[in-house]
Amino acid sequence: MKKVFEVFLGILTAIGGFVDIGDLVANSETGARFRMNLAWVVVVGVVGIVLYAEMSGRVAAVSKRAVFDLVRERLGPGVGLANLIASFFINFLTMTAEIAGVAIAVSLVVSVSYIYLLPVAGFFVWFVIWRIPFGAMEKLFGLLGLALLMFVVTVWKLGPDWNSVLHAVSHPHIPTDETPFTYAYYGIALFGAAMTPYEVFFFSSGAVEEKWSAKDLMVERANVFIGFPLGGLLSLSIMLGATLVFAPRHIEVGQLSQVALPTAFVVGKLGLAALLLGIFAATFGAALETALSAGYTVAQYFGWQWGKHVRPDDSPRFHLVIIMSVLAGVLFAISGVDPVKVTEYSIVLSAAALPLTYFPILVIANDPDYVGEHVNGRFTNFLGFVYLVILVLVAVATIPLMIITKGGA
């Protein structure tokens, strides 16, 4: 019975934890601009993150090794270091966006400019990592994140014609006032939002630290196979809400405050309050995960002691990296960058950097030296290779598309 409860709780937190600022922004923007014509990308992205998270969770549980430990060992120190710098920088952008998301969510309730709330948000993110029992926090924020289901309520209240929605999703086309380049660029943004690499750094490091073993694979798979697709449905409901409310009014989404407007419009005050709580919880949870990931990646590359359960005195360098990252992220956000733009670039660059960490995981998931009998099956390997090809194509296309579209303008 305890096991069933654990699996159930895991799935719930996986749903709430799936959506972060990247998904909120990308799905609202694309819904408003492209209607449901990019919905298929979310499906491709969810299958990708399920595949990737399952492999890295399995590798972590069986070999007791986290992603960046393996990256350096398999790719060598040079390529490993280039990989570390790229991954660290992109994770930093994501963390900055999440901290800004926390500050904005609070600013929408207390009506103080989010700029003043940024240092407070950053402080609490650090404080939770430094002092607060983390397991409980993770579950709490995962569950509070379920308030984002208000997006589903919004869509249900809007009552679209489901047949035409299904038709639009399954017959995508490039809208007449968009170019193939902007279509592809926003497709990559959505893909990167669904397949964020920090989730995998965090997931695999957590599995190593919680001393998962092959026995825990059942729970891990339930979280991934059920939780992530449900999280993907939540993402699609954000997109559909934007399609129904924003697109007919020619509204472009450029501010996080706009994301909550469809819910306020159709559901009302209570719905809006719940949604803002959900956005706060989802971004705060993701801010914790990205801040920890900053420490994980560096510490695992250099072989330092790391972990959220280790005393700071026993892992000073790991904690120093986190402190410096959060501080730099807050300063970067205060400097006047547009949080929505930071989010966009973080998800697009995430997509471009995916092969760097995905490739070693795919190789190791085939290596009996690491995972013994738990190597990839034929089907997983087929999908795994197809995704490797997709990820490489995306990585090659990203920077040119970014230049051609001037960042999706």
Partner: protein, 113 residues
């Protein structure tokens, strides 16, 4: 001296023909007793050529089966590697490794260490 100084060194055969760089080193633990871990590790052979990434990723081993397109690619790279036993090394100095045998007499990379 350091292992990293041996890695990436260019290798020349008995006729002074270049045959590639050192990509990996095979160690055998059969030296004199050293302490807690047992016998000392002896440098037994060099992997020379373009095997770098292939062996580093483990694709030359038969128990690494998938994904087959990667396996095919990296196996092919690994097959281009030469296997040089340390006893065939004449000298290691001036940033180069010289062999006392000719390239045609060298073995291919064995399947497992």
């Amino acid at each position: 001296m350091r292992l990293s100084e041996l890695l990436h060194e260019p290798v020349f055969d008995a006729d002074a023909r270049p045959i590639g760089r050192v990509h990996d080193v095979r160690l055998v633990q059969d030296g004199p007793l050293q302490g807690l871990a047992g016998a000392a590790f002896r440098v037994d052979a060099l992997v020379v050529g373009r095997a770098g990434l292939g062996t580093r990723l483990g694709f030359h081993r038969h128990d690494m089966r998938g994904p087959w397109p990667l396996k095919l690619l990296f196996e092919r790279l690994a097959r281009k590697a030469h296997y040089v036993e340390w006893k065939d090394v004449a000298a290691w100095d001036d940033g180069r490794v010289s062999l006392r045998v000719r390239v045609d007499d060298l073995a291919r990379l064995p399947d497992s260490p």
